[in-house]
Symmetry: C2
Subunit: 347 residues, 2 copies
């Protein structure tokens, strides 16, 4: 009684290729535990795509892309000049779009187009790209609802750290009163280094850059922009809010001095960049991102180095914290794969 599920992947970067490889390595789990067989119907990429009625071998395609840098000339099923939108428009009998194109927070494109097309066609959407959802979650969700399909964003929210499914599944029926999250690994790495090794901000940033944890231009991470984006997404999905990143009161970590870290440490506090959203008495949401000195018994105090964590405070279940989870492309791919399985999972 195995059910066939056909997927299209848009974007074949590291996350997309890792996801494709999971389709092969996890084939047995999908079939034995979840009763589904996942077939790769097509992959959309900028410089040419692939599309097949009979299914494409995922790992072989990833190998091919890594050797050739494009898909258009892939034997038999290659489509030179086709992009993601063409594949989503043309793929037959497809059930799920797996969206892994690069994030554009402002326009959400090209993912937004792919996702709208997919939902219109009655496909489920699983996305590692948060761009299209930052400003359009509500409208895309109601389009999905009208088509009876799901939108799953675990990989977009914090890769392998389960944030959204904890809120939606593990806390079902509870009222989430507040969210606090250490959501940016780079900032947390820098602050952790400043504390444990008495480093200056500049030295800690330089080390993060040397280790490949921080980018050459670290602005998005250290100014709290990435945290604000993730916080808005999580708050909108988990608390049913309608929060835009620019409504988040935001302070980054660039102004933190070694002295300040030392002072907090001497007071038994641990500075972390915390994104928080709180339901006020009128039912509105107050959201902020700021470096905060957490007392040692706060559950996010122990989320160290480049780790991430999130704490939900609820009415009936008290306070629940999740931490850990791989932040690399394989972790994000595993989160996509999980979301895909959960669409078809029996309760």
């Amino acid at each position: 009684m195995t059910r066939r599920v056909r997927v299209v992947i848009c974007g074949f970067g590291k996350v997309g290729r890792n996801f494709a490889r999971l389709l092969d390595t996890k084939r047995q789990i999908a079939s034995e535990r979840h009763g589904i067989e996942i077939e790769l119907a097509g992959v959309g990429e900028l410089k040419g795509s692939v599309l097949s009625d009979g299914g494409i071998p995922p790992s072989a395609l990833a190998d091919y892309f890594e050797e050739n840098g494009s898909l258009g000339d892939y034997p038999e099923t290659g489509k030179p000049g086709w992009e993601g939108a063409d594949i989503v428009r043309e793929a037959a009998r497809t059930n799920v779009l797996v969206e892994t194109t690069p994030t554009d927070i402002k326009t959400g494109e090209p993912a937004l187009t792919h996702i709208r097309l997919a939902l219109e066609r009655g496909w489920h959407v699983v996305s590692a790209n948060k761009g299209p959802f930052i400003r359009n979650y509500k409208s895309l969700k109601s389009l999905a609802d009208s088509k009876g399909v799901a939108i799953k964003l675990s990989a977009a929210a914090a890769a392998a750290l389960p944030t959204l499914d904890v809120a939606q599944t593990c806390l079902a029926g509870a009222e989430i009163l507040s969210i606090e999250g250490v959501l940016n690994g780079t900032s947390n790495f820098i602050l952790s280094r400043m504390r444990t090794d008495n480093m200056s901000y500049d030295d800690a940033l330089a080390e993060a850059q040397r280790l490949g944890i921080a980018e050459t231009d670290p602005t998005l991470d250290v100014e709290g922009i990435d945290t604000a984006n993730k916080l808005a997404l999580i708050t909108n999905v988990a608390m049913g809010a309608d929060l835009l990143p620019e409504q988040v009161d935001r302070t980054g970590i660039t102004g933190i001095s070694a002295d300040e870290v030392r002072r907090e440490t001497a007071n038994g506090k641990i500075i972390r960049l915390v994104g928080s959203a709180l339901k006020d008495k009128q039912g509105g949401i107050r959201a902020s991102v700021a470096p905060i000195g957490l007392s040692a018994d706060h559950p996010l105090a122990s989320v160290d180095g480049s780790e991430k964590g999130i704490t939900y405070t609820t009415d009936t279940m008290d306070r629940i914290t999740v931490s850990g989870g791989k932040s690399d492309p394989r972790g994000a791919a595993a989160a996509l794969y999980k979301d895909l399985l959960n669409i078809y999972r029996a309760p």
Copy 2:
């Protein structure tokens, strides 16, 4: 498009009554977010039960029980002399059994009878009672599978701390390589007190008893029996194992001296009673419960006082830890309620 779901509760102690009250207080959430209206079809108790075709007002029934100590004489729908099994046998058009009778680890009764009857009738089962599942999970699960219904055990595993749904939903598709859990709040409270207040075991136990955290006979908690039971249940559900509590290599905390705690603390370690299960290379499971000195950066090191926590180590998502969650009857009731909603939740 609201769907009516009829439930029978067996056992009307604190957890059962708290669950009944949630049916009222969470009515709007169930209908708006999940599209279901939950109707109480009956409640089974030792000294008389209630059963109704038209539905029973849950909070009013809880009030009545708290005043009268039995249900048999409840106006109109009371069934003097009827017990849980009678209600499960007779209830019409019912969808879910919510099982909250007291736990008997050895026989699993009376819950085991209720659950078998309910599954035979094609009802889903949501249970706060782990007794029937310690020895019979596999056979009950295959009975449920053959009937196309679900068994949900969040409340049995660790009340409001999400252990099983993290494993099954948040880690779907990942291979769980090991489980480590601080699963017994009483033992953790005692060890925490010994460490932070330099107390002897006896003094810390006495304080736990005074605060109502430990029972007069604390054997189940401090000898690691409760931890072994929960560990077996979680391991069987999350890792597909077939582990019995007596196969868990078990050491309690009664032999821990204040000196030993001081020594560990001086070495930067924090002693916790940890239940762990590890997949070996042959695919077998090695499981143990023992006090372990955790280094400060272990994610369970910060699970302090009467809190609980669990760490899963996986192949693709790395290490994920969940901690917190209310351990009281309302937390357990909230976990039952969550499981019930998730049976009917769209992906």
